[in-house]
């Protein structure tokens, strides 16, 4: 009797210990962000420039934000960037995964090469591409010249600058789509493919109608991760174009950063940050409602 009681109380204290341990990351994370996030909201209602005194201005920062043509331009640019980059990454990425599944030789080399863009420091990637896109001495223009295309003013003209950031995003993240899709495809049972062949389906039809639907959940997760990361793009664009020329590559987080650190408008910057964090939260909640269970399933 005494022993059983001791056993039970030990069990309870052990369970409490496990509950505490499982909550530690959240305790740390919320503990760290609660004050900064509260002050972020607080200062978003102040006219506060670096070096100045904060002056309460009610919702003026938010009114400024929603009437700022630069903000709408930034929002529109970010959406175009995301749709274009992620769309191309998906098409290319799945095509390359399809090829990788079918070839026998050189797979290992290909997989190693595909790792490179994913682990290189994004800030450094921006600097490398800045050199490659140089109008006079850049290799991009040189190789295009071999194809008979006259030199483009990549980082100098707005349209070209926008596309140069899209190209860098495609360079960085297509390998991610390829590698995850490839891993998903190779994990499928071999019988699935074989039985499709026996039924007389072509390789491409087998891929499109039988294999891809089987990894639909995985493709959804890839899409989710890519969309969220593209919306908050910062590193490589910042070191390559700095948001320019003018505001041609002034994506949301850059718009936010530049308002704080270049124009010293902290109060306004806080309002922008509140908007971005709320927007990200909304998108994550909407998408994670479907992706969340998928993460648990797989």
């Amino acid at each position: 009797m005494v022993n059983r009681l001791r056993g039970d109380s030990m069990k309870i204290s052990f369970r409490k210990k496990m509950l505490f341990l499982s909550l530690l990351p959240l305790i740390y994370s919320y503990g760290l962000v609660i004050y900064p996030f509260a002050s972020l909201i607080y200062y978003s209602f102040f006219n506060y420039d670096i070096g100045g005194t904060p002056i309460f201005n009610a919702g003026a920062n938010y009114i400024q934000l929603f009437t700022d043509p630069l903000f709408y331009k930034s929002l529109q640019l970010t959406l175009s960037y995301t749709v274009l980059s992620v769309g191309i990454e998906f098409l290319l990425g799945i095509m390359l995964a399809y090829i990788l599944v079918h070839i026998l030789r050189g797979r290992s080399v290909a997989l190693s090469i595909l790792i490179l863009p994913l682990v290189m420091t994004p800030a450094v990637i921006g600097i490398i591409w800045r050199i490659l896109f140089d109008t006079a001495f850049g290799h991009v223009n040189f190789y295009l010249g071999l194809l008979g295309i006259p030199p483009l003013k990549w980082l100098i003209r707005p349209t070209e600058a926008f596309f140069s950031t899209v190209i860098v995003d495609i360079w960085q993240w297509t390998p991610f789509v390829t590698l995850v899709t490839f891993a998903g495809l190779t994990a499928l049972p071999v019988e699935l493919v074989e039985s499709a062949y026996i039924d007389g389906a072509s390789e491409f039809r087998t891929f499109k109608d039988i294999l891809l639907p089987r990894i639909r959940a995985l493709l959804y997760i890839i899409l989710f991760l890519r969309v969220v990361d593209a919306l908050k793009v910062f590193d490589a664009v910042y070191t390559m174009t700095g948001g320019g020329p003018g505001t041609a590559t002034n994506y949301l987080v850059l718009f936010n950063y530049l308002n704080v650190m270049t124009f010293y408008h902290i109060g306004y910057g806080c309002a922008i940050a509140v908007f971005i964090i709320l927007l990200m939260n909304l998108i994550i909640t909407l998408l994670l409602r479907r992706a969340g269970p998928l993460f648990f399933e797989v």
């Binding site: 959240l26 994370s29 800030a123 991610f176 891993a183």
Partner: protein, 270 residues
């Protein structure tokens, strides 16, 4: 059929060249003597030189910022493990109430835009004296790493059969002993991969470091901007700096190639 295979290889090679060219380019330029750098068509045959590397390492306190990067990354990863590993174990093995809330909430911190999140930290750090300190940056990086540690390590623990742990408990080992003597050795590869994975992402982080550090606690990715400003058209030295910053990550990335995909997809593929 043969023709199709041939076409596959052509397409694959074209794209692989696209992916590897910038990497090849930066290594090439880093070893290139100054005179060859602006030659077009590009000069691929030259006497390699270490001048660019010597220039980078001896100027602009490269070593100081290298040490910053190492210290910040190592300490942040260790702290993330200390907080995240026990949680990963508890969340993998025990019936924690509200698990369906805890796990996605931890995960949600992975999606925060670091440069925006760093703004209120900047205000706070300036006021409490944490601005431009390694500690200030480390605190934020632990926040950034925890989702990866918890999700990935939990996945590796789930791969270990629960029956195995229970059989050792019947043999008289305590739960803590089972964890340290049985479970941990079984997941050591996954754990090592998680450590390197977090190290890569901490080392590469740019947005928060840009806001929260000045000349003192700056890490290499942020210092690379300084290289651009001061080196300008000295592309050789700039590329040498780029190689020194990115090469360790390339090596780590290739070492954990198989695990990297699992990490990037947050455990969605095994």
């Amino acid at each position: 059929m043969k023709l199709k295979d041939f076409a596959f290889y052509i397409i694959l090679v074209i794209f692989l060249l696209f992916f590897i060219y910038p990497v090849y380019f930066v290594f090439n330029l880093a070893f290139m003597p100054r005179a060859s750098i602006f030659q077009l068509p590009p000069n691929y045959i030259f006497q390699p030189t270490l001048d660019n590397f010597i220039k980078v390492v001896t100027m602009w306190s490269f070593i100081k910022y290298l040490i910053n990067s190492i210290v910040v990354s190592v300490v942040a990863v260790i702290l993330s493990l200390a907080i995240g590993l026990p949680a990963a174990y508890a969340l993998a093995r025990y019936d924690i109430p509200k698990k369906g809330f805890i796990l996605p909430t931890i995960l949600s911190f992975r999606f925060l835009p670091m440069a925006s999140v760093a703004i209120p930290f900047y205000i706070l750090y300036v006021n409490v004296g944490l601005y431009d300190t390694q500690l200030g940056l480390i605190l934020v990086y632990v926040l950034m790493n925890l989702p990866f540690v918890v999700w990935l390590v939990r996945g590796y623990i789930l791969d270990v059969p629960k029956d195995l742990e229970e059989s050792y408990e019947i043999d008289g080992l305590s739960k803590t002993q089972v964890f340290f003597r049985i479970t941990l050795p079984l997941i050591n590869r996954g754990l090592l991969a998680t450590i390197l994975f977090c190290f890569i992402f901490t080392w590469n982080e740019f947005g928060a470091a840009l806001l929260l550090t000045g000349t003192n606690a700056r890490t290499l990715p942020v210092q690379s901007l300084q290289f651009v400003a001061s080196l300008g058209l000295d592309w050789g030295a700039l590329c040498a700096a780029a190689v020194l910053i990115a090469l360790p990550m390339i090596i780590f990335g290739l070492l954990i190639r198989r695990y990297l995909i699992r990490g990037l997809s947050l455990g969605a593929v095994r």
